[in-house]
């Protein structure tokens, strides 16, 4: 309950309502620029998350369970819950395969008391997206059954190799579940098969979901979230994109150690003269990839060779996941000073604001406190420094580096000192 308490020590709902336009006040010169930039930066900072390197079970297998019961017809999310869920799920599929290229996904729908398989567990994002699009025509109906959906997910995840994670992500709009049997037994069987469940609630917390999440995640119930609004919904869904950290307890349980996977790196061939049959769709195509083990032709990667069951990927697919394993250090905000040694952002060359004298800073802080009655203040230096190379960046470049690029521009561009001992990776 602690995190529910607001800045004044009371609960958020006891607080006086803050209108967004009250925060924006003109400064002495009648300009809004200073306050607007500090507000923008404060918002961006929230997106910056703490990065601690830890081992993640990168090869993931996930079943996405979508509620399509009558409660999904509610219009509290526009245009209604079902259609926003489907469009967010499509975004999720794209992002999931972008971040976890060698993972697999399946989609199950809960509707009128039964669980229906919409998209079989596979590594092809396009087929999932097509299947989700087809769901738009389906009208939400009846009650959901968590037990049926969980049993089906369990069946889908049962054959998954031990080196992959087994995850279920449930988007749950209802407040009830109509089950044919005892759901507690199903939850216990999930724990035994090491399936981890994550739930996103659209209405309110449901005790059975909380219990299910807690039991399948070694007592950790932080993976059960109930949405506040559309943005929060998206945020919760995108949190599921990042691979789960392997918990210490699960590490202890899988004591024998980690897995080594045999994989093939096919070479691309081009056939300009005459097409040949591919082994995945049995269609005539020009060019493709050739499995190094059985020499059959495949249209797209990553996939499992339909002929010899060898997992086929490109080395670039592996490289896409490396940033999870070697995360970029969080930049440190430079404290407010009178003079700074940097005038421009190293990345985008944008000019930083000038320094503020201590007296001015005092005045500004006092004014902010008087305005908002809050302890936190918005005055920033707008400079964020990499702890390794000591180069300053603007907030936009900081966010860009951590979210999109995953490189530190300073560390990669300046090599005055002898290079740091880095991991020697010579892969092509």
């Amino acid at each position: 309950m602690e995190e529910l308490k607001g800045a004044n020590g009371g609960y958020a709902w006891e607080d006086e309502y803050q209108r967004s336009w009250d925060i924006v006040k003109e400064d002495d010169g009648g300009s809004l620029e200073g306050i607007v930039t500090s507000l923008v930066e404060a918002r961006k900072k929230r997106f910056m998350k703490n990065v601690t390197p830890f081992q993640r079970g990168i090869i993931r297998t996930m079943v996405l369970v979508v509620d399509l019961s009558s409660s999904m017809q509610e219009k509290d999310l526009r245009p209604n819950r079902a259609s926003i869920t489907i469009s967010y799920a499509i975004d999720f599929v794209g992002e999931f395969f972008d971040q976890n290229p060698i993972s697999q996904l399946g989609i199950v729908v809960m509707r009128s008391g039964v669980a229906t398989l919409v998209s079989d567990v596979s590594g092809n994002p396009q087929s999932h997206i097509d299947n989700l699009r087809a769901l738009r025509k389906l009208e939400p109906k009846g009650d959901p059954s968590l037990q049926n959906a969980l049993e089906m997910s369990k069946g889908l995840l049962l054959h998954v190799a031990s080196h992959c994670t087994r995850e279920v992500l449930i988007i749950f709009g209802s407040l009830l579940t109509s089950d044919p049997g005892d759901i507690h037994k199903t939850i216990l069987s999930l724990v035994v098969s090491k399936i981890r469940v994550r739930v996103i609630g659209l209405t309110a917390q449901v005790a059975i979901c909380a219990e299910m999440v807690r039991k399948t995640n070694f007592g950790d119930s932080s993976l059960y979230g109930v949405i506040l609004n559309e943005t929060h919904y998206k945020e919760l869904l995108m949190n599921a994109v990042t691979p789960l950290a392997i918990s210490n307890q699960s590490l202890a349980e899988t004591a024998p150690g980690f897995s080594l996977v045999e994989m093939g790196f096919p070479s691309r061939i081009s056939e300009t003269a005459s097409p040949s049959f591919c082994s995945c769709h049995s269609k005539l195509t020009y060019g493709g990839y050739v499995c190094p083990q059985c020499l059959s032709k495949i249209c797209s990667l990553p996939t499992v060779c339909p002929c010899c069951q060898l997992m086929l990927i490109l080395s670039t697919h592996l490289a896409r996941s490396y940033h999870h394993l070697f995360p970029l250090k969080t930049y440190v905000e430079v404290p407010v000073l009178t003079n700074y040694d940097t005038e421009f952002c190293f990345g985008c060359q944008i000019a930083f604001p000038a320094g503020v004298t201590p007296l001015e800073a005092q005045v500004l802080k006092a004014k902010e406190e008087a305005q908002w009655g809050m302890k936190k203040h918005m005055l920033t230096s707008s400079r964020y420094r990499c702890p390794d190379c000591q180069v300053s960046f603007c907030i936009d470049c900081d966010v860009f580096s951590h979210d999109v690029l995953h490189n530190c521009m300073g560390c990669e561009s300046i090599r005055e000192s002898p290079s740091k001992p880095t991991l020697s990776v010579n892969a092509i």
Binding site: S267, S401, E412, V425
Partner: protein, 331 residues
């Protein structure tokens, strides 16, 4: 006469409907001294001359077009154009001797700035480390493009790398991160390779829809830069571009460095290994592998000799005669 004139006029009409979206061209020039020494056919001076022509041509093709130029040496990557001092109106007062003062002011501005800064960059370059800073330069170019796209709506962007070094000077993970970031930003990376072929840069061009060319005759660089590398990204699907059919996608072993077609991947750090490690530990991240999995992988193919009786039993259901007794037992 009128008829002819009219038809000519009609024919030119469709050209009025050309796409007016401004485009940003970011050029990254490698300046490693050792790299330039290894290419006897051309010099940095000739290449920068050709580059300035290409930059001016890009600026001339649309009034809102933008350029940025970065130098990437062995020790540091930095912006040649635009530079913060430059954008904050600290112009040279027309005393430059490098560029004719009669040139169109925008061209002159870019040309002077690039040449001055390039000169300064080369003066300060010292001996570098084994890995160059190309990835850093590309990262900075992407960050600058991000800013320009935030400031100007609907700005197309592409990156041109004038490379002189091979894969040994490029750090793998940072350059791959750049490729993925460029893919996300829908920015294509063109590579003009003057030195030995580089498979990383080939992959960069392939993944982002760019052009990769091994320039065999650097004397004609102007022509390469203003033809193959000059095509706008939106027009590329309709043009016959110098294509690269065989991109080297094979991986290389993290330990031995050998080319791998069929290898083993560590489940924790995803490093690629050619063989099953001798000890049960990942040589990169040190995690312990499951003994059972390792022994399964070590076990070679075994030809099992089938017992004669078993094969008989398998064959029987195939013959129609054998089906009848089965049906009898069911009853």
């Amino acid at each position: 006469m009128d008829a002819i004139a009219e038809s000519v006029f009609d024919n030119t009409m469709p050209h009025a409907a050309v796409d007016d979206t401004p485009s940003h061209l970011s050029v990254i020039l490698e300046t490693s001294a050792a790299g330039w020494l290894a290419i006897p056919q051309t010099t940095l001076k000739q290449v920068s001359e050709a580059l300035l022509v290409a930059l001016n041509a890009h600026l001339a093709s649309n009034t809102s077009n933008q350029v940025s130029v970065l130098a990437s040496g062995v020790q540091r990557s930095e912006f040649l154009f635009p530079t913060p001092e430059d954008t904050h109106a600290k112009h040279h007062n027309g005393t430059s001797t490098l560029v004719s003062s009669k040139l169109y002011s925008l061209f002159r501005h870019v040309d002077e700035e690039v040449l001055h800064r390039l000169d300064a960059h080369i003066q300060t370059e010292g001996n570098g480390c084994d890995k160059g800073t190309l990835a850093g330069g590309t990262s900075m170019a992407l960050a600058y493009i991000r800013r320009c796209q935030a400031e100007t709506a609907a700005l197309k962007a592409r990156i041109l790398i004038i490379s002189i070094t091979d894969d040994s000077a490029i750090p793998y993970i940072p350059v791959m991160n750049c490729i993925f970031a460029a893919q996300k930003m829908k920015t294509s990376i063109d590579v003009c390779q003057l030195g030995p072929a580089s498979s990383f840069l080939q992959q960069a061009a392939d993944a982002t829809g760019g052009v990769y060319m091994d320039v065999k005759h650097p004397q004609g660089l102007i022509q390469y830069l203003t033809t193959a590398f000059f095509v706008d990204t939106s027009l590329r699907p309709f043009m016959v571009l110098p294509s690269q059919n065989n991109v080297d996608f094979r991986a290389s072993c993290f330990v031995t460095g050998g080319v791998v077609e069929r290898g083993y991947v560590c489940g924790v750090c995803l490093c690629i290994l050619k063989d099953v490690p001798q000890r049960n530990f990942c040589p990169v991240c040190g995690s312990r592998f499951d003994d059972l999995v390792i022994s399964k992988l070590r076990r070679g193919p075994v030809v099992t000799r089938k017992k004669k009786r078993k094969t008989d039993a398998l064959q029987t259901p195939l013959t129609p005669a054998a089906e009848q007794p089965e049906a009898v037992t069911d009853d």
